[in-house]
Amino acid sequence: MTEHAAPVIHARGLEKHFGATHALRGIDLDVPEGRILAVLGPNGAGKTTAVRILATLTRADAGEATVAGYDVRRQPEMVRANIGLTGQFAALDELLTGRENLEMIGSLYHLPVQRVRERAAELLARFDLEDAADRAVKTYSGGMRRRLDLGGSLMAEPPILFLDEPTTGLDPRSRLGMWDLIGELVAGGTTLLLTTQYLEEADRLADEIAVMDHGRVIARGTANELKGRIGGERLEVQVTHAEQVQAAHDALGRLAPDVRVDAGARRVSIPVTNTDGILTRAIRELDAAGVSLDDASVHRPTLDDVFLVLTGQPAEPDVDGADARAEQVAV
């Protein structure tokens, strides 16, 4: 981040508690102009609270934050003129049509009347909502609501966008559609902070990832840097017979010193430092030792592994609407 001037989104030591629950225990976040930060974490990590503070919906108990150079506490109206927010649950009026929703939001951004109409029509077309534009939102599917909600955030073409779990609860196809839309936005230079429980989403969309757990940022970096923290790629084999695990260990040990064994799963692995021909050499060594294999693969660590290493827990709890709602209530 040193290559940039002051970050567009900047937070230091944010703390927030709700009763006895500490939602945030002092977090720092920085997003330089035109970049995407993904805040990754399970339900209850404090992601939504962080976004709500930055988007001026909630006040922090301690710490400071600026968005577009404005203090979120002292100049909320200035912050609001520069941001778009799409929350976890569609902030739409159910009884209004899609077009009416967008036009109301545009009017509340104080865009000129003509511009409000044009922009609403433009977004409805771009988000594939033209056919449903004049139907009440209560008739919309989940994916349509999310797209319209995102459209609302984009009415005034804000330079900064907050997306709180933009794809939670969407089916895979709608999720891919959202990813494409988000990708287009950022290509246009928007600075984006998004929260997600989906490792794949962070990996795919973000320039940088901040991993949150229990109100703290426990790791940050690019997807590759985070993967690097738990070691690089590993070659992993699964032997056919449990009694051959030791033989496999010895054979692979001749290629690399750091051999890991999961006897129960009959898996043996070594780090891949130099990919040149290691798979062939490993197979040759194992064959020479008389070990027969069920499976052999070069395993690239996922962000799931990162989470497991960082927190000792799997990253993705059961992700469904009920859990997401539970977080909303807790937060």
Binding site: L57, E77, I83, L95, E157, G189
Partner: protein, 270 residues
């Protein structure tokens, strides 16, 4: 728009009367669309008042004697004020329902006059109250209401009661923002507004009450407003309670307008 233009921080529109009015109008428009799409939202200001006019005039009317006037002429002011009072406070229930909706988060993230969510609500309810008054007036005339106060008296009476209703809708706003659930608020309304409307001159002359109750009834705002409306509709003059009734409405506004804004801010900033 280029990336560079986008990134330049924008100034918020200066908070002005113009943006506040335009934001409030957007909120009124939204509420009116709601009413258009769910007309049952108007039941409390259409069917209920009709029912009350008919019930009191046809059922109780024969049993209640009031000096100098036919009972229906006496009754209408009471019915007007009771309906307006309930509709006013009921604003709180509608606001409490709004607060449960994710839409409020959206509004809070927009560079709009935040108070317009509340003024939009209360102004819409002023329109609802106006509709209720018109319906009651017509139904009243059908069952014998003959106001002798003339057009000016009628306009004055409507102005007095709408001002009172608008003031009470800010009581509703404050309660709606302070009370946890719409259901709890319904309970409070029932427990507070019902006794106040009945212990007043709305349906019977206060002289018929025990001394201590009459003392209270004669001094509480519901009676003052009812008497002013009654005097305006029947005689065309404000009578002795005209000024006090206006002062009460203004006093309620002076307290509950800022209280409502404060409670709403507090409620939504958590």
């Amino acid at each position: 728009m280029t990336a560079a233009e986008r990134a330049r921080p924008r100034a918020a529109p200066r908070a002005s009367l113009g943006t506040w009015l335009s934001d409030s109008w957007q909120m009124v428009k939204r509420n009116l669309i709601h009413i258009r799409r769910t007309p049952e939202l108007l039941l409390d200001v259409t069917v209920s008042p009709i029912m009350f006019v008919l019930l009191f005039s046809l059922v109780f009317g024969g049993a209640i004697d009031v000096p100098r006037e036919s009972y229906i002429n006496y009754l209408m002011a009471g019915i007007f004020v009771q309906t307006i009072a309930f509709a006013g406070i009921y604003t709180g229930v509608l606001l409490a329902n709004d607060l449960k909706n994710g839409m409020i988060d959206r509004f809070r993230s927009l560079p709009m006059a935040q108070s317009s969510v509340l003024t939009g609500r209360t102004l819409t309810d002023l329109l609802r109250a106006t509709l209720a008054v018109a319906i009651m007036w017509i139904v009243g005339m059908l069952v014998g209401f003959r106001p002798g106060g003339g057009v000016l008296g009628g306009i004055g009476a409507v102005a007095v009661m709408l001002l009172f209703g608008f003031a009470l809708s800010w009581v509703g706003v404050a309660l709606g923002a302070l009370v946890r659930t719409p259901e709890a608020l319904q309970g409070i309304i029932f427990a507070a507004v019902f006794p106040l409307t009945f212990v007043s001159s709305a349906f019977v002359p206060t002289e018929t009450m025990p001394g201590w109750l009459a003392w209270f009834a004669d001094r509480q705002p519901m009676t003052l407003v009812t008497n002013a409306v009654r005097s305006l509709t029947l005689d065309g003059s404000g009578g002795p309670t005209f000024v006090p009734s206006i002062l009460w409405s203004l006093a309620i506004l002076a307290v509950c307008f800022p209280l409502g804004l404060w409670a709403y801010q507090r409620r939504t900033t958590q």
